[in-house]
């Protein structure tokens, strides 16, 4: 029953935060400077008729409060407004790009978590050794690398000098595929460098977290008991240390989503990967407010949901944790 109440409270809090994000989103993009009609003009002149038409179409003639209600109502119907650049529903645009971003982020996230945890655990086990120092040093340097610059250098080295991988887009332009396997290979080849960049940059974080939490667990009392009980070191490591170290790793994974979402903007821009990051970047350049607003909302909701899931997971894994 206590668990259920805990869960209910968490869900309620999630709903409140979601509402807060939605409202914050609206305020951010509607009370900021900029005349949307002028943005739509993109030229010297609009006839007064066109100005009136555009104002009506975008609902800019209503007072702010009413625009807010219209916005909320639209959200409930899945409408996110009309893009200023393309004059199409923002939802449609996002949908076209979202799949590509998910593809990129999913691969990068899984790889980072798995590889990072593995490397970190091994480093923790071999503490004080050359491997450990090398790991920590490399990770610290990796943390300091700007994502975009890493992407550029990687693309330059692997894509240009070694000519091993394509550096632009999702598929070869105008490609004709003889089979769907070939299409899959083409996309995978284009996916390699962006994923590699994200992994290289974010793995450092993970390695250090995994290493630190395993170290802490290894020094706990119950570990001494395990050793005294005669369990082999390997067993100790994997069955006890890692499982108990999972908690911070789970939390870190949730954080990773936030990072990767941000990293996606940089990486997609560098490799022209047609995902939401690229859409946001271009929308910012064009000051296409509805698109930025919609994308921002999607990012926020994704991060929010992932954090919520990780909170639940954390709670499930560690019954000691309760509301602070």
């Amino acid at each position: 029953m206590a668990r259920f109440r805990y869960l209910a409270r968490k869900v309620a809090w999630l709903a409140v935060t979601l509402y807060g994000v939605v409202t914050f989103n609206f305020l951010l993009f509607h009370v900021l400077p900029g005349n949307p009609v002028r943005l739509l003009a993109r030229s010297g002149h609009l006839t007064p008729q066109t100005v009136a038409d555009i104002t009506k179409v975008y609902g800019l003639n209503h007072p702010l409060g009413e625009q807010y209600l219209i916005y909320l109502r639209g959200l409930l119907h899945g409408q996110l407004g009309l893009s200023y650049t393309y004059r199409e529903p923002v939802g449609t645009l996002l949908g076209q790009y979202l799949g590509n971003t998910v593809l990129l982020l999913a691969g990068a996230t899984v790889l980072t978590i798995v590889l990072g945890t593995g490397v970190g655990v091994v480093a923790a086990n071999l503490r004080g050794s050359k491997y450990d120092s090398a790991t920590v040093t490399t990770s610290v340097i990796g943390w300091a690398l700007p994502t975009f610059w890493t992407g550029l250098i990687l693309a330059f080295v692997l894509g240009v000098w070694l000519h091993a991988f394509p550096i632009f887009g999702e598929q070869t332009p105008n490609a004709i595929y003889t089979s769907s396997l070939q299409r899959f290979e083409d996309i995978a080849a284009h996916l390699f460098l962006p994923t590699l960049t994200l992994v290289v940059v974010n793995i450092a974080q993970f390695v250090l977290v995994a290493r630190a939490s395993v170290i802490e667990v290894l020094s706990e009392d119950f570990m001494t008991t395990a050793i005294a009980k005669g369990l082999t070191p390997r067993r100790i490591l994997w069955r006890h240390a890692v499982r108990n170290a999972m908690l911070p790793i789970v939390t870190s994974s949730a954080l990773l989503i936030g990072l990767v979402v941000a990293g996606a903007i940089e990486v997609e821009t560098v490799y022209s990967w047609p995902g939401m990051g690229l859409l946001v970047y271009n929308a910012v350049l064009d000051r296409d407010y509805p698109v930025i607003e919609g994308a921002f909302l999607v990012f926020a909701i994704v991060v929010l949901l992932v954090n919520f899931a990780s909170d639940l997971l954390y709670q499930a894994l560690d019954p000691r944790v309760r509301e602070a």
């Binding site: 400077p33 900029g34 005349n35 002028r38 943005l39 003009a41 993109r42 030229s43 010297g44 002149h45 609009l46 006839t47 007064p48 008729q49 066109t50 038409d53 555009i54 009506k56 179409v57 009309l82 650049t85 393309y86 004059r87 199409e88 645009l93 076209q96 790009y97 975009f148 992407g151 550029l152 693309a155 330059f156 894509g159 240009v160 000098w161 000519h163 550096i167 632009f168 887009g169 999702e170 598929q171 070869t172 332009p173 105008n174 490609a175 004709i176 595929y177 003889t178 070939q182 083409d186 821009t269 560098v270 490799y271 022209s272 047609p274 690229l278 859409l279 271009n282 350049l285 000051r287």
Partner: protein
């Protein structure tokens, strides 16, 4: 008037950011392991800005017009010699008083199979006029009525003679698709399956990636050789140029100067440079509006001319454009040929800091009390605000050079950079324009002096007139040339108008940039170099006349 070629898109093209990685100049050739379409049947164009919409009535982007001009026909098209050639109109003639134009129309079919008639043509013009919609509205301001005496004839009646024939500009849209839409509906209409009478049909548009069109086998004109045309969007021009080298695209119509330089010596690639119809300029706020926040000192022509003398346009071209441009002077770029007024170098307000100082001294703007900034007779310093678009790197560079040059003659400019929209908002805030000097640019909407000459008109304040210039004499000159059907007379008037505006120095035109393009020599041939560019120009004929190698 509105802009067929919008300013913002122009500036984006001029100063795009390149963020992805291109290959080094020493890279090996293409390593594409996936077969691409047989090159000889598709023209693949690489560019870095994509259209905003496929709706010809709501678009302001040059790229959109580039695609739409192959899907829709005009009554009259611009040929490779930049002269009018028949489109949907096989011939046209002016009435004796010059106020009516009669077009004889040919037989054609819409892409959805329905027949084209004069009703569609008349409908198009009347729609634009009545709903006051689209960038073409400016060409029909004097339109009084559109008559269709029979299905193959269209007569347009105007209140005044039209030196520029609107048939050249307006794409003809099908009545049966557009007739039931209200003005708001038109604004919202995406036209995702455009139906025209043109040589190509729309296939698809993958946003952010590519647009594809394929040949219309029932088109009325000579069958073009290219079965398809694809425009591929690159997020950065360096990668785009690289794709030209590796053969992933056949032609790139807009290449930035330093990247174009890097194409020299590339195998199977020809880098070409043509004069353009565009310029970048320094604009000075000369608004007479009492609410204007512009510095009143700038209303003195002496100061404006001194500013013009202070800067060396050749240096601007060399440094900001890597030499790829013509130093600017009068309102119509050199690419306009005989329309452009060529002022001898010795008579230009250019590159003469001594003259600038002399002018200022004589007018009483001197350096007092050991200051490095001149002051007027009643002690006001010659300090002005300068704004430029931050994403247009050539403008930022030029602004800095301009600022440094003016410092040498005792005028202080405080530079701030803004994003393109904020700059537009600031400059075009016609109720109370609060700025002093900007750096910006213009493309021309049509191949006719009318467009650019029409910018500094009194009635364009609140519209295209970015510096709020207003002068009766200039307006009069403009009106005369706009209604003058005799070519030689018109040319003389056009020159007079340019000289007049040049002397008033509200615009300091920095350069006429070259149109830098590149194409592969081993896939398509028959590209004719035209002022303004092989493609992405007023003429679509290069698409139609290209042949596979």
């Amino acid at each position: 008037m509105s802009a067929e070629s919008n300013r913002r898109e122009f500036m984006k093209r001029a100063g795009l950011l390149a963020l992805t990685v291109p290959a080094a100049a020493t890279v090996l050739d293409a390593c594409a392991s996936v077969a691409t379409s047989a090159k000889a049947s598709t023209i693949r164009v690489g560019w870095a800005i994509e259209p905003d919409t496929m709706n010809p009535l709501t678009t302001y982007s040059t790229e959109a017009v580039e695609v739409l001009q192959l899907i829709y026909d005009n009554l009259i098209h611009t040929g490779l010699d930049l002269k009018p050639e028949p489109g949907l109109a096989t011939s046209w003639s002016y009435s004796t008083d010059g106020k009516s134009i009669t077009y004889q129309l040919r037989k054609a079919t819409w892409h959805d199979g329905k027949p084209f008639t004069s009703a569609d043509a008349g409908f198009t013009f009347e729609l634009i006029k009545s709903k006051q919609v689209s960038q073409y509205a400016q060409w029909v301001t004097d339109l009084t009525s559109a008559e269709t005496p029979d299905p193959a004839t269209l007569v347009l009646h105007f209140a005044k003679p039209q030196a520029f024939n609107p048939g050249l500009a307006v794409p003809i849209i099908p009545q049966h698709i557009w007739q039931s839409m209200s003005a708001s509906q038109i604004q919202k209409f995406a036209n995702s399956r455009p139906v025209g009478t043109g040589p190509y049909r729309f296939v698809n548009w993958i946003k952010g990636q590519s647009i594809e069109i394929s040949r219309n086998e029932t088109w009325w004109g000579t069958r073009p050789a290219a079965q398809k045309v694809t425009w591929i969007l690159f997020q950065n021009e360096d990668v785009m140029a690289q794709s030209l080298r590796t053969g992933a695209v056949d032609i790139c119509p807009e290449i930035p100067p330093t990247i174009w330089d890097g194409l020299a010596g590339a195998q199977n690639v020809k880098a070409v440079s043509m004069p353009s119809f565009s310029f970048h300029h320094i604009g000075i706020n000369v608004s007479e509006n009492p609410k204007s926040g512009g510095n009143p000192l700038l209303k003195d022509r002496v100061i404006r001319q001194a500013l013009s003398y202070a800067v060396d346009r050749k240096q601007l071209v060399d440094v900001a454009l890597a030499g790829h441009g013509i130093p600017g002077s009068t309102l119509l770029p050199a690419g306009f040929g005989e329309w452009h007024l060529d002022i001898p170098l010795s008579q230009q307000y250019n590159a003469n800091q001594g003259k600038a100082k002399a002018l200022l001294d004589a007018a009483g703007y001197t350096l007092r009390n050991g200051s490095s900034v001149r002051t007027s007779k009643d002690g006001k310093p010659l300090t002005f605000r300068l704004i430029a678009i931050q994403s247009t790197s050539v403008d930022v560079a030029a602004a800095q050079l301009f600022r440094d040059a003016c410092a040498k003659v005792g005028i202080q400019l405080n530079l701030t950079t803004l994003d393109a929209n904020s700059l537009g908002n600031t400059v075009y805030n016609s109720k109370a324009p609060d700025w002093d000097i900007f750096v910006w640019g213009w493309d021309t909407g049509v191949y006719d002096p009318d467009y650019l000459l029409g910018v500094p008109l009194c009635n364009q304040i609140g519209s295209n007139n970015d510096v709020y210039y207003c002068n009766r004499h200039y307006d009069q000159l403009y009106d005369e040339q706009a209604t003058e059907l005799d070519h030689a007379t018109r040319r003389a008037l056009v020159h007079q108008a340019q000289q007049f505006y040049y002397d008033d120095a509200a615009y300091i035109i920095m350069w006429y940039q070259d149109k830098l393009q590149g194409y592969r020599t081993d896939t398509w041939t028959g590209w004719t170099e035209v002022n303004g560019g092989i493609i992405l120009n007023f003429t679509r004929d290069n698409y139609l006349k290209a042949r596979p190698v």
